[in-house]
């Protein structure tokens, strides 16, 4: 069995290689290159913010063991846990005993001197962990939820939507039955049941979110396929003897790609927010912003209020969602055929 951090490193390598490959393909295609340039022109700031989140998440995914750290008393500590690039930005033993206010030099309760006075920019949580560190690590979880769940949702929705739209008849009826059944169960209830059945964990939560959120895009894909199926070039392909599978893969799905991109971006923010709700219910993913917000339930009722934990996680969540939504909006404008300019 591969150790988790090695697997994570491999995933990062694959992602970076994939991104480079896509970038090369995009450079070749006028349409995508033009769209990307237009996107950068419309929303430079939002794109930049998203890029920073992605960078932090990637850096947090590259981890290795080894490397010592200097303890609070100036003694050398050997660390055996694999630590990511983000972890290594902080001293190896950066914890306190409990809460401390941002940039404080004494503990919140009791007023004993901190081990790292004035160095916790966003304070520490109940276990004395640095909030800035936790917030940065949350980016990885958030992108994992959004990205991995989309990877489940989009193929699932395409498979069902396109086959329903293309073949019609019985297939269409079956898919619609499935959709109707899913749509008639309260989403939150289904989510909770799925997580309860599969057990807690990042992958399980992603699967549960995926199962509950593919219906919308499935309908869109079905509708668009119904339209594409009747188009002359699909008929022409049939007249040339192209097989049904090949028609779907080459003539139908590529013409849905702009919808896939739009859906991915819009779905993403919704999924990250859904996880926050799951965390509130106590079935979220460990280390997510949702969980940090969940902790604030108790903290907000203390006197004086402990606000920094909640504030940091909410701000990070808000920043990501807002930036992604801005980008999503621009993506739709750029890729939607109805708003496409004629000269492209």
């Amino acid at each position: 069995m591969v150790e988790p951090h090695v697997a994570s490193n491999l995933v990062v390598a694959v992602l970076v290689a994939g991104a480079l490959f896509v970038a090369r393909a995009v450079r070749k295609s006028d349409l995508w290159r033009g769209s990307l340039r237009e996107l950068a022109r419309r929303r430079p700031l939002a794109l930049g913010v998203v890029a920073i989140y992605v960078l932090v998440a990637l850096l947090d995914s590259v981890a290795w063991t080894g490397g010592g750290a200097v303890g609070a008393q100036g003694d050398q500590l050997a660390l055996h846990e694999p630590r990511s690039v983000v972890d290594r930005l902080f001293p190896g033993d950066f914890g306190e005993r409990s809460y401390s206010v941002p940039l404080a030099s004494a503990e919140f309760y009791g007023g004993a001197a901190l081990r790292h006075p004035g160095r916790h920019w966003l304070g520490t949580d109940i276990l004395g962990r640095d909030i800035l560190h936790l917030t940065l690590k949350g980016a990885r979880i958030a992108l994992l939820i959004g990205g991995f769940t989309s990877l489940i949702v989009i193929p699932l929705a395409l498979l069902f939507g396109v086959s329903a739209g293309y073949f019609g008849g019985r297939v269409d009826d079956a898919v619609f039955f499935l959709i109707s059944v899913l749509a008639s169960i309260p989403g939150l209830l289904l989510l909770i049941v799925l997580v309860m059945v599969m057990g807690r964990g990042a992958v399980q939560v992603c699967i549960a979110l995926g199962v509950t959120s593919w219906v919308g895009f499935c309908r869109v894909a079905r509708g668009e396929t119904l339209k594409l199926r009747e188009l002359d070039y699909v008929q022409a392909a049939r007249a040339l003897g192209v097989s049904e599978l090949r028609i779907i893969l080459r003539h139908v799905v590529p013409n849905l790609l702009h919808l896939v991109v739009i859906t991915f971006v819009l779905l993403f923010s919704g999924l990250v927010l859904s996880e926050a709700i799951l965390a509130w219910l106590g079935i979220g993913i460990d280390g997510s912003w949702g969980q940090m917000i969940d902790q604030a339930r108790d903290e907000l009722s203390r006197d004086p209020i402990i606000w920094w934990n909640l504030a940091a996680a909410s701000a990070a969540l808000f920043g990501l969602i807002l930036a992604v939504n801005f980008v999503g909006d621009a993506v739709r404008d750029v890729l939607d055929p109805r708003t496409l300019r004629e000269d492209r």
Partner: protein, 326 residues
Amino acid sequence: MSEPVLSVRDLRTTFPLGGEPVPVVDGVGFEVASGEVLALVGESGCGKSVTALSILRLVPRPGRVAAGHLRLCGRDVLSLPVREMRRVRGADAAMIFQEPMTSLNPVVSVGAQVVEAIRLHERVSASQARRRTIELFESVRIPDPAERVDSYPHQLSGGLKQRVMIAMALALRPRLLVADEPTTALDVTIQAQILELLRELQRELGTAILLITHDLGVVNELADRIAVMYAGRIVEEGTREEILARARHPYTQGLLRAVPSLGRRGERLAEIPGVVPSPIEWSRGCPFRTRCPRVLPACAETMPAPTRLSTTHASRCHAVAAEVST
């Protein structure tokens, strides 16, 4: 004489209308010999396109070919399994559609689409197929073929797109080309160029063409023989001269009178009153009798049998039959 490329007998294609299968094409029969151009002429809604689609078994559901015999290049099309049928499409018989604007996939370059057509039926390398595509583009007179192969459909004009469609259809040198109103969506000058091109290619390659059109000008340019369709049936059939100059069926005569000509300027253009009856209204007797100027009592009773006027010319009309027999 060798076997015709395409022979159609008693073709009957039905669409369910209100639960009942209603024939849209009813007992159509014709033959297309190798290297011949047969024009199938008629008004909108008379079953021309459905006939064409039936030949390649592409009738859109819920329509279906209910009866008849279809032989294409010596093979019985209607009994072929689906996989075999796919091999026939494109290789033995190809089709050009009416709308070049929408007949090409907008997200794939035009060259790649022709390459796809070639590689679907023949085991050739991608670069070989590409070379052949460029040659094909040259043969359909596309300027700068080497650059045009990488263009996307939206970068080409309607005329160029139709040339690409023709190149694609001819890529595998099919023995039969079904051209469903190939020039309807183009403007007049481009129409002439495309017709000219079709005629040249037809002579060069010896491809038989089944030309489907309502435009008698196009027919005059291209066709060797003409079959006139009305309400799902062929009402008159003959060589180009026989039909255009000596048409006997009142419907054909009406169609010909409705063509504007320079010699009859200032006159009111003749028309055939009424419209083609919808397939549900086709009943016993001659379907044209509601609009026919020479209607006889017999017309309401039976569908007239073809009356032979020459070895090539036949007409299905009671009035014509009565004239000939007297």
